[in-house]
C-alpha cells in the first residue's frame, strides 16, 4: 500500500514538474528521463543477461538520426509513429548485431560493442549526403496531429509519457514469459538453461529489446536537444550509460532510473567547477563504489533488510 502511495506521489510530481520548476530544469528533467530509458535498455542486456555493452551511444545515434530524418522528410507522420519507427529500426540493427555476438562474452563482447559504436559514428560522419556529417543535423519540431511540440514543456510531456510507458513495461517484466526467462538468466544462466530456458534465444531477444529502448530514447533525445552531431555519440557517452547502470545497480529497474538521474544531475551541476569537474565526478564515482558496492540498488536492499 505504501509503495502505491509513493508511486502516486511520484506520478503527481512528474505531471506537475513543468509548473514547479524553471524552464531549464524542465529540459534537465527530460534529459534525465531519456537517459533513464537508455539505462533501462542497457540494464535489460547487461544486468539481466550479463552482456556488457560499451556501444549503446551507437544505438542511441541510430534512433536519433532515424527520428530526425523521418521528421525532416515526412513531416506529416505523428511523433509517436516516428518514435516507434526509430525504436524498431534500432531493434533490427540490435538483433542483426546481437546474433553473431552470442558467441562473445565478457570483455570480448565489451570490445565488439565498443567497436560497433565507433563504426556507427564513423558511418554517420561519412554518409554526409543523408546525415549532413560533421556539420550536424537540425532536428525539425515534432508534431502530434495538428499540434507542434515546440516548447520545452510540450516536449517534456512527450518524454514523460513515453518513459512512463517503457518503465511500466520493464517493471512488469516478471509477468511475461520472456521477462521470467530473463530473470532466470539473471539469477543463474546455468540453472536457467538446466530448467529448459533457451538461453541463446533470450539473449538475442534481450539485445533486440535493449536496442528498441535505446532507439526510442534516441528519438526523444533528438527532439529535446534539437541538434545532432556524430561526435556527441562517442565512447564516453557509452561509458556514461555503463556508469549509470553500475552506480544505480545492475539488473534493477529503479536502480537504472536513479543511476541515470544521479549521473545526469552530477554532469550538469558540476559544470560550474569547469576544470575540476572530471576530478570531482571521478572521485564521487570512486567513493560511490567504495561505500555502496552493488550500486545504489544494492545499498537500498541492504538498508531495507536491516
Amino acid at each position: 500500500m505504501r509503495a502505491r502511495w509513493a508511486l502516486g506521489a511520484l506520478g503527481a510530481l512528474l505531471a506537475a514538474w513543468p509548473w514547479l520548476a524553471p524552464r531549464y530544469f524542465v529540459f534537465l528533467a527530460s534529459l534525465i528521463l531519456v537517459n533513464a530509458v537508455v539505462a533501462l535498455g542497457l540494464n535489460l542486456l547487461s544486468g539481466y543477461t550479463n552482456q556488457l555493452s560499451f556501444g549503446h551511444a551507437g544505438f542511441l545515434a541510430i534512433g536519433a538520426y532515424t527520428a530526425a530524418l523521418l521528421t525532416l522528410h515526412a513531416p506529416a507522420v505523428p511523433v509517436v509513429a516516428t518514435l516507434a519507427a526509430a525504436g524498431a529500426l534500432t531493434a533490427v540493427v540490435g538483433l542483426a548485431f546481437g546474433v553473431p555476438c552470442l558467441r562473445l562474452s565478457g570483455l570480448y563482447l565489451a570490445m565488439a560493442t565498443l567497436a560497433f559504436g565507433f563504426v556507427i559514428t564513423e558511418a554517420i560522419l561519412n554518409l554526409d549526403g543523408l546525415t549532413r556529417g560533421a556539420d550536424g543535423l537540425r532536428v525539425p519540431v515534432a508534431r502530434l496531429g495538428g499540434w507542434a511540440l515546440a516548447t520545452d514543456t510540450a516536449r517534456y510531456y512527450l518524454v514523460a509519457g513515453v518513459t512512463v510507458l517503457l518503465v511500466a513495461a520493464a517493471a512488469n517484466l516478471a509477468r511475461t514469459r520472456t521477462g521470467r526467462a530473463l530473470l532466470a538468466i539473471r539469477e543463474s544462466e546455468i540453472a536457467a538453461q538446466a530448467s529448459g530456458v533457451p538461453v541463446a534465444r533470450y539473449k538475442t531477444i534481450a539485445f533486440g529489446v535493449s536496442a528498441f529502448y535505446t532507439g526510442v530514447a534516441g528519438g526523444l533525445f533528438a527532439f529535446i536537444v534539437g541538434f545532432l552531431s556524430p561526435d556527441a555519440f562517442d565512447v564516453f557517452m557509452s561509458v556514461d550509460f555503463v556508469v549509470m547502470i553500475i552506480v544505480g545497480g545492475l539488473g534493477s529497474v529503479p536502480g537504472s532510473i536513479v543511476g541515470a538521474a544521479v549521473v545526469t544531475v552530477l554532469h550538469d551541476s558540476l559544470a560550474g567547477f569547469q576544470n575540476y569537474r572530471p576530478l570531482v565526478f571521478g572521485l564521487i564515482l570512486v567513493a560511490c563504489m567504495l561505500f555502496m558496492p552493488g550500486g545504489i540498488a544494492g545499498f537500498g536492499a541492504r538498508l531495507a533488510r536491516r
Binding site: 565507433f118 561509458v239 553500475i246 552506480v247 575540476y276 569537474r277 571521478g282 564515482l285 563504489m289 558496492p293
Partner: protein, 292 residues
C-alpha cells in the same frame, strides 16, 4: 607503391604496434592477477610521463633520468591506488572495481590538466631524427628504437614470468587463486606487485611513445588501443597481447594507403569484429570450458 615505401609503413606500424602491445601487456598483467580491467592504465602512463618530463625540465637533468623517474613515479602511483583504493573495495564486484578505476582515470586526467594544462608538449627523444637507410629502405630511428626497446622489455617480462619466484607466483594466482593461497603465496602481495609491474611497463611505453604523439593529458586514451590489442590477441594471453598490438599497429598504418578516407578509421574496428566472430576468444585466447 614501391616495396621500399611499403616496408617503411610496416616498420612504423610495428613501432605503433609495440606501444599498443606494451599497453595491452600492462592491462593483461593486472587482469590475470586480479580479474579487474584497469581503466586508469592510460592515465597512469600519462601522469608518470608528465612527472618524469617535469623533473627533467625543472632541474635541467640529462635525458637519461626520464626513464627511471617515470618508472618510479608509475610504481608509486600504482602502489597508492592499489593500497588505498582498490584493496578497500571489499565486497565489490568486478563491475564496481571497473567503475572505481574509471573514476580514478577521470580524476587523474583532471589533475594533469590542472597541473600541466591540457596543451600538447614536445617530448625529447632518445633517438636521432634523421632516417637511416637500410639498403633501399629508409626507416625512422625512432621506429626502430621503439621496436627494439619494446622487444627487450617483452623478453624481460617473459623471463620474469618463466624463471623467477615472483613470476611463478603471479602465474599461479592467475591460474587458481585459492590453490595459490594454499601453496603459501601471498595473494595480496601478488595483487600489489601486479599493479606495480603493469604501471612500470606502462611508464616505459609512455616514455617511448611521447616523442611521437606528444605529451598531453589526452595521451592516456591510448589505453583504448591497448584494450583492443589485448582483446584481439585473446585477453589474458601475453603472446596474444603482443601479436594483437603488432597487428593493430600495422593495420592502422596500412589502411589509409589502400582504402578511401571514408572508412579508413573504421577498418581496425571492422577487422576486430570480424576476427572475434571467427575466433570469439581472440587469436590466441582460450575459451574456458564451462563448469556446471
Amino acid at each position: 607503391m614501391t616495396t621500399a615505401a611499403l616496408v617503411h609503413v610496416i616498420v612504423s606500424g610495428l613501432a605503433t604496434g609495440s606501444v599498443y602491445a606494451l599497453m595491452a601487456l600492462s592491462l593483461v598483467i593486472i587482469y590475470n592477477a586480479t580479474r579487474t580491467l584497469n581503466f586508469a592504465q592510460g592515465e597512469m602512463l600519462m601522469i608518470s610521463t608528465f612527472v618524469a618530463w617535469s623533473v627533467q625540465q625543472t632541474f635541467a637533468l640529462p635525458l637519461g633520468v626520464i626513464l627511471p623517474v617515470a618508472v618510479l613515479a608509475a610504481a608509486a602511483v600504482a602502489l597508492v591506488f592499489e593500497r588505498l583504493v582498490i584493496r578497500r573495495a571489499i565486497g565489490a564486484t568486478h563491475w564496481d572495481v571497473l567503475i572505481i578505476t574509471l573514476g580514478l582515470s577521470l580524476a587523474l586526467r583532471a589533475v594533469a590538466g590542472l597541473a600541466w594544462s591540457h596543451d600538447e608538449f614536445p617530448f625529447p627523444s632518445f633517438f636521432p631524427g634523421r632516417p637511416i637507410a637500410l639498403g633501399p629502405v629508409r626507416v625512422a630511428p625512432v621506429s626502430l628504437g621503439i621496436i627494439g626497446a619494446s622487444l627487450a622489455l617483452m623478453l624481460a617480462l617473459a623471463a620474469l614470468f618463466r624463471w623467477t619466484r615472483l613470476g611463478r607466483a603471479m602465474r599461479a594466482v592467475a591460474q587458481n587463486q585459492r590453490a595459490a593461497r594454499l601453496m603459501g603465496i601471498s595473494v595480496e602481495r601478488v595483487y600489489s606487485l601486479a599493479w606495480v609491474l603493469a604501471a612500470v611497463v606502462g611508464a616505459i611505453a609512455g616514455v617511448l611513445v611521447a616523442p611521437v604523439i606528444f605529451l598531453s593529458s589526452k595521451m592516456g586514451l591510448i589505453v583504448i588501443n591497448g584494450f583492443t590489442a589485448a582483446v584481439l590477441g585473446g585477453f589474458g594471453s601475453m603472446p596474444g597481447a603482443v601479436l594483437g598490438g603488432m597487428l593493430l599497429g600495422v593495420l592502422e598504418n596500412l589502411a589509409p594507403l589502400y582504402l578511401p578516407s571514408g572508412i579508413r578509421y573504421s577498418v581496425p574496428f571492422i577487422v576486430l569484429i570480424a576476427i572475434l566472430l571467427v575466433r570469439p576468444a581472440g587469436l590466441l585466447g582460450r575459451i574456458e570450458p564451462r563448469k556446471v
